[in-house]
Symmetry: C2
Amino acid sequence: MARLVMKFGGTSVADIERIRRVARHVKREVDAGNQVAVVVSAMAGKTNELVGWVQEASPLYDAREYDTVVSSGEQVTSGLLALTLQNMGVDARSWLGWQIPFKTNSVHGAARIEEIDGSVLIERLEMNQVAVVAGFQGIAPDNRISTLGRGGSDTSAVAIAAAINADRCDIYTDVDGVYTTDPRIVPEARRLEHISFEEMLEMASLGAKVMQVRSVEMAMVHNVRTFVRSSFVEPDAPELMNTDQPIGTLICDEDEIVEKQVVTGIAFSKDEAQISLRRLEDKPGIAAHVFGPLSEANINVDMIVQNISEDGTITDMTFTVPKGDFERAKDVLEQARGNINYNMLQGSTDVVKVSVIGIGMRSHAGVASKAFKALADKGINIRAITTSEIKISILIDAEYAELAVRALHSLYGLDEK
Amino acid sequence: MARLVMKFGGTSVADIERIRRVARHVKREVDAGNQVAVVVSAMAGKTNELVGWVQEASPLYDAREYDTVVSSGEQVTSGLLALTLQNMGVDARSWLGWQIPFKTNSVHGAARIEEIDGSVLIERLEMNQVAVVAGFQGIAPDNRISTLGRGGSDTSAVAIAAAINADRCDIYTDVDGVYTTDPRIVPEARRLEHISFEEMLEMASLGAKVMQVRSVEMAMVHNVRTFVRSSFVEPDAPELMNTDQPIGTLICDEDEIVEKQVVTGIAFSKDEAQISLRRLEDKPGIAAHVFGPLSEANINVDMIVQNISEDGTITDMTFTVPKGDFERAKDVLEQARGNINYNMLQGSTDVVKVSVIGIGMRSHAGVASKAFKALADKGINIRAITTSEIKISILIDAEYAELAVRALHSLYGLDEK
């Protein structure tokens, strides 16, 4: 017997037929003797419809009213799933954010979770009642509904799992796990049995769309074992019955991963634009002069590379910004030119960031140099490099993206045997 | 300056364009210096959609989950109207049932109002903030959302008006007031300036579809002056600006009505079926034997006429039931025949109930006999008669319905001059 959280997204609950399918997944776990809390999103398309109305009503909307309107989508699904479960003979009830209560701060529209009292839910779970929790929503200190921002249902699920001390949080999604890289680019990509929180965080933020970055952070902080699995498999498929090892990827603490890989996966992001400032005066505070104005304009800077010049007076600086902010970033830097004193601004949106990720890197030297050599052998020019303890990110020309990902995937032995 | 409640139904808030129109009505009242609480229904069609999903999910549904799902419709509208008002420069916020709190009993799906704390709303109204209240919903003792039953938004509006001690509760609807009778049948029907609560109750329950019966009862109990008016008039029409007497009908205490009419209106209901039991043994308790089984079967009995026989041993009994319950009522009486001992059951769905209503009847004799004579003059046979202090109801053959209504309307001087 285990205590589980099961999370289903909008496409899994798009209509009553699909909600019935979700209910069968839930029933399977209940029948196996588990205590189950389910977290649901709004029916596919509903949130967009509601957001559309809000914007039509008031382009500069009050986020408190936005939350009141948009949170209704998950409210509907939670009630419908509870009803469907009841109709299958499974005891169930819906829980709205304010009923739990699922307390957040007062930043309506993008609230942070403050405190979740899991005691009432635990009480019901122990009576073998399924708790169907409306995802994405909470209650703010002003006694009004808050929402966690788009895609917040993953975060809700992980937070509920932490609050009720669940053994596992199952994220049912349209893929059957986390892969070593995007299988559309590398057909040999393998599904990972395990991935550590930190690796997943890098994979998620670098473009693998499986889970929201924030929910992985939450899982890491609260050490919630999170299992990514397919919602498309038949709920009563033989391989799901009486098994502790369904198909999927477990995101967990690295201590739980016995056989650590040096490299776990190759991620890439096409949402990067490169900006280079040439012949800057290399004086103290120059970085602040460059990045201060960008930060004020709410532009996120990612990779930053600065080369010192031979005589220490003139330098070049390269960094990346999200593609959508490229033009705005150039404008900001143009206006700040008086303070920055650069000779030339060069930029390109025709770049891609490829990343090699693995907690094993910590204890293995030479991972980076192998990558550089492999790319050089393919004739791929490296525009910028940044590294952290568990990843190496390399900025290259966009046209080489697939070639580089395939080369690195093969290089580190990730191809399926 | 006055404190107003304004209520708008589903067709008035069917889309953002219509919500904007409603907002203009609200803004007019705010600009005139009034404190305003608005009560809104769900967008037209939404409640049916939600109810449909509930029934699809579980034919025998849990009313608590029904309430969770269905109440979302009003939640959405309240947020959207608040946003629209803000966008017009009017300070406004939405209020959900649990936020006020709008306390009801625990009969989910058809809850009765227990207590509404108006203090928080009053506080905001006095700060000139418009309160946009989600109609139809409250919070039950189990801390879950309750709903008042279909059409409950009228009741919500009147209850909110009572709680905040409003000067008037304006019900915006698709007609511009309460008429002496249905103008589709009698083109000479006149809009009433005033009608007393009791008269309106009779008019409403006898088939005038303007307001829910329950909301009129609530208005009567709490003495809420309720004004029925058109939502189709342009919100900034000249006749609505700077006037204390817009077009509509005020439902109020009879003391407020200076010039009392003997007859205020003629109502009629086609939703009646007649059942006659012939040659019943006339012994004590016979009525209980007839109506007990009907009551147990949840069949409402309306007009009841019992004639005593010459020798006091055999009687006939006639009564009406809703048309939809006719076949069921006959079955029930057939099964109870052993206890009731009637000789024959006759019935007809081809009947109509016509009612003459007026508080002036209390002090005027002869109203009824005038009606009987007028119907006789037209050759209309009377099947049954019941009377109360302020109304006379007459059951006749359905084919004479329009003729009878027109005759009575003219008889009591109700035709427009």
